[in-house]
């Protein structure tokens, strides 16, 4: 029989280990529980699109109403306006987004006035009904800024855009440029594509400005012969058809075609290529975008008048802000314009490629 007897081995690990196991498992479970709760909450919070509790609070609300045919141009103005408005937490609402299908610019203006917005940026057609709506808006304390076409007789607070006379002089300089390439320049026939709703006053201002330019700068040149071609801008598809038909009328093909918006410019450019009339008719366009610049660069379009849409958008919001704050603002804010010819187009394309 072994006599060494009972060895008492204190199991120090017994209690400690049991405690450690419990502590570790609780710790693990808590980590899993809390971790998953945190991950879940953060994922839930990051889920896009839930706008039930949108917290963006605007300090003002301006309606942006323009005529729909010159989309690229107005889109540029709208973005500039939104950019400027963001600085003051102003919401710019383009009513065409949801009412544009059934409503024209005048209807939208009415809705804006009835909605008691804080300001209206209007770049649509001009007539008496519009003037009345503008006056009503102003009487209800709504500031109104007009873009492109002005109604001086209305109560609008500000006009932001290009002076038509100035615009006419810019077009005249281009016509003179075209004539200057000829040794014995003859009177040019100039088709001026205008909206059928454009007021006679506006067209008169433009022709007067051209005539003045020639009288002042090129008295030796015969004056151009102007033909105003009314284009129905209400229907975007008609615009293209109307302009294409101008090129089909071979007998009455003009020497120069003056386009007063970007839609006309693009349609004319497309039609002249399709009808193979490049060189026969010189197009003087309006607005600058990639396709128009390419066309200028390829000499399909002789030159184009660039209007600074960014300035237009910014100025319109600034004018409304100023009016809301002080009760008055500048009645006219001119925006920068520039003629883009072959040389400028090349540079702009290069800059665009460099930046892209």
């Amino acid at each position: 029989m072994n006599e060494s007897g009972v060895i008492r081995k204190p199991n120090n690990n017994y209690g400690e280990r049991a405690l450690r196991i419990i502590a570790l498992s609780i710790f693990l479970m808590l980590i899993v529980a809390i971790g998953s709760a945190i991950v879940y909450n953060s994922l839930r919070d990051r889920m896009p699109g839930i706008v039930l509790n949108e917290t963006m609070e605007y300090k003002g609300h301006y309606a942006f109403i323009v005529k729909g045919e010159d989309e690229d141009f107005w889109r540029g103005v709208y973005y500039a306006a939104c950019d400027e408005a963001d600085k003051g937490s102003i919401y710019i609402e383009d009513l065409r987004d949801y009412l544009g299908v059934n409503y024209d610019d005048k209807d939208l203006l009415r809705v804006a006035v009835n909605s008691s917005v804080d300001g209206i940026i209007y770049g649509g057609s001009i007539d008496d009904e519009v003037r009345e709506l503008i006056d009503r808006a102003v009487s209800e304390g709504i500031g109104v800024v007009l873009l492109q076409n002005d109604i001086e007789a209305s109560g609008r607070q500000c006009f932001v855009g290009v002076n038509n006379y100035e615009l006419g002089q810019m077009y005249a300089s281009q016509i003179a440029d075209i004539m200057s390439t000829e040794t014995d320049p003859k009177a040019k026939t100039v088709d001026i594509l205008v909206d059928k709703n454009m007021s006679e006053g506006t067209t008169n201002v433009i022709t007067m400005a051209i005539e003045d330019y020639f009288a002042d700068n090129y008295p030796q040149y015969p004056l151009p012969i102007f033909n105003f071609k009314a284009i129905n801008s209400d229907d975007i598809f008609r615009v293209e058809e109307d302009i294409r038909s101008l090129f089909l009328d071979e007998e009455n093909l003009p020497d120069i075609m003056m386009c007063l918006n970007s839609i006309y410019t693009r349609s004319a450019y497309q039609a002249i290529v399709d009808q193979n009339r490049v060189g026969e008719v010189q197009i003087i366009g309006y607005y600058v975008d990639r396709s128009i610049l390419e066309a200028v660069n390829k000499q399909i379009i002789y030159s184009t008048v660039s209007v600074d849409t960014w300035e237009m958008g910014r100025y319109s919001v600034q004018a409304l802000n100023e009016y809301r704050q002080s009760g008055y603002t500048n009645s006219y804010m001119p925006v920068n314009t520039q003629v883009v010819g072959l040389r400028e187009a090349g540079k702009l394309i290069a800059v665009g490629e460099g930046s892209s």
């Binding site: 060895i7 008492r8 889920m47 949108e54 919401y91 949801y98 059934n102």
Partner: protein, 492 residues
């Protein structure tokens, strides 16, 4: 602190803790998930609330416009009442929507509310004009209201559509979120469940391990192996207490067995020494019997001789025979008993007397006795054989005068009985042989011996005292004499 509390807890409490905490965590997680799912479902319900409100608004607008138109057409009281009711309903619906600048949807709602205010104003003026029979005014008012009604319906329709699109997106997002939550819940529950199972397994194993080891130890103890290891005897729970009790029990058993074993050993030793003693006695008796065929006869004869000598007035002869008779009587009676030291000394006196008669006083015997020690008990027949040895081997054949000195004294707890002669002495080798029991100084075949050897004497003293060291034999060399010193404890 926690560990101490834990160690002091009972198994029941430990298991309760081990089960309760994971269950509580699972419960809390379930409640958390349940609350989340509920809030999610509530949000899904809420998603289409706006659409419902806008639909109500559109319906009330239609009712209002219709009732106005009806009133304008027939100017009936019921139509007017219907108009007022519709007007109130519409106003209530507008109040439900709320007016704010918070987000694009809210701004569209604001547009609707502002348009509605103007519409209500126009409608009210139109109805008033109808009541005032102002035909022109109510006709113009109606036309204006008609336009505004269309605008409002369009705006409501669009807002409704927009909200429906957004809400549908939200709905899908919430649904996917719900699905994600389901998966998360299942994963969490699985993880917690697995962790729980592992933890419980480890925990119960760590708690039952001492029990398992205890049962193994019990098996070993049952098999007679007391060399066991008991884990966790310090634990305060039931297992700890059982472990301690078991350890104590094994200890007790072992001690008890050990005591029994020692007791048996002691008994066996005692029996052994008793047997040895008896053997020596028998041996002594046998030798005695061999030497003296009939001591009783001799003793009686000697007594008769003594009486005869007395009658003949031969005093010396009487004394001699008397001493002889006493000597033999001692031999007969005392061999198996312990006697007083005094009796042993008297026997030596008688023996020396007898020898001196035989050898004509050649032996000079001296005593130095501590009287206080006379009563000490010693085995019988231990001094005479030594004296006999001193006479026969020490001084018998020497040329000089033989002396034998006997001395008793005490040092500490030991009594010393010294018997010294000035005879031929003894070699160290022989001394060692005698002390180890190999050498027998007294030749039992010699006629003048009582037959008891030194080995017998030493052995009996050892058995009597229970000590090994009972005799010293000192001799300084040849012809230097020999001293036998018997050492007996005071209290045996």
């Amino acid at each position: 602190m926690i560990e101490q509390l834990w160690n002091r807890s009972s198994i029941q409490r430990k298991l309760m803790v081990a089960f309760f905490i994971p269950i509580a965590i699972i419960l809390i997680m379930n409640v958390y998930m349940y609350v989340n799912v509920n809030s999610m479902i509530a949000r899904i319900d809420e998603v289409y609330d706006n659409n419902v409100r806008l639909n109500e608004l559109a319906e009330h607008l239609t009712e209002l416009h219709g009732s106005m138109k009806e009133y304008l057409e027939n100017k009936g009281t019921s139509s007017l009442n219907a108009y007022y009711k519709a007007d109130q309903d519409y106003r209530d619906s507008i109040d439900n929507i709320g007016k704010s600048y918070n987000g694009t949807i809210a701004i569209m709602q604001k547009n609707i509310i502002n348009q509605s205010d103007k519409y209500l104003e126009i409608v009210d003026e139109t109805v008033q004009a109808k009541r005032g029979r102002n035909v022109e005014k109510y006709r113009t008012g109606f036309e204006e209201a008609q336009v505004m009604y269309a605008d409002l319906q369009n705006c409501i329709y669009f807002l409704n559509n927009e909200q429906f699109k957004v809400n549908t997106d939200n709905y899908y997002i919430l649904l996917s979120s719900l699905r994600y939550m389901e998966i998360t819940s299942i994963v969490i529950l699985i993880i917690i469940g697995v962790v729980n199972i592992i933890a419980l397994y480890l925990l119960t194993r760590s708690m039952t391990r001492p029990l398992t080891e205890l049962s193994k130890a019990a098996d070993k103890v049952a098999g007679g192996d007391f060399n066991v290891t008991i884990v966790n005897p310090e634990g305060e729970d039931e297992i700890g207490r059982v472990s301690r009790a078991f350890a104590g029990m094994v200890d007790s058993m072992q001690r008890y067995i050990s005591e029994i074993r020692e007791s048996m050993l002691r008994e066996s030793r005692m029996k052994e020494s008793e047997l040895k003693m008896q053997n020596r006695m028998r041996e002594a008796e046998l030798k005695s019997l061999q030497a003296q065929i009939n001591p009783h006869f001799l003793f009686n004869t000697l007594n008769a001789g003594a009486q005869l000598a007395m009658m003949e007035s031969a005093d010396r002869t009487t004394e001699f025979i008397q001493n002889m008779a006493d000597f033999f009587r001692y031999n007969i009676k005392s061999i198996d008993k312990d006697v007083s030291l005094e009796e042993e000394l008297e026997l030596v006196d008688k023996y020396i007397y007898i020898l001196n008669v035989r050898f004509d006083g050649e032996i000079h015997y001296h005593k130095d006795i501590d009287e206080d020690l006379n009563s000490i008990r010693v085995p019988s027949m231990i001094l005479q054989p030594i004296v006999e040895n001193a006479v026969n081997y020490g001084i018998r054949n020497i040329d000089w005068e033989g002396h034998i000195n006997l001395k008793t004294y005490r040092e500490g707890d030991l009594i010393y009985i010294s018997i010294a002669d000035n005879g031929v002495g003894m070699t160290q080798d022989k001394i060692e042989k005698i002390l180890s029991g190999d050498g027998i100084a007294v030749d039992p075949d010699k006629n003048d011996s009582n037959g008891i050897g030194l080995g017998n004497v030493i052995e009996r003293i050892r058995i009597f005292t229970g000590r090994e060291d009972v005799m010293d034999i000192i001799s300084e060399g040849e012809n230097k004499g020999t001293e036998f010193i018997i050492k007996v404890p005071m209290h045996v």
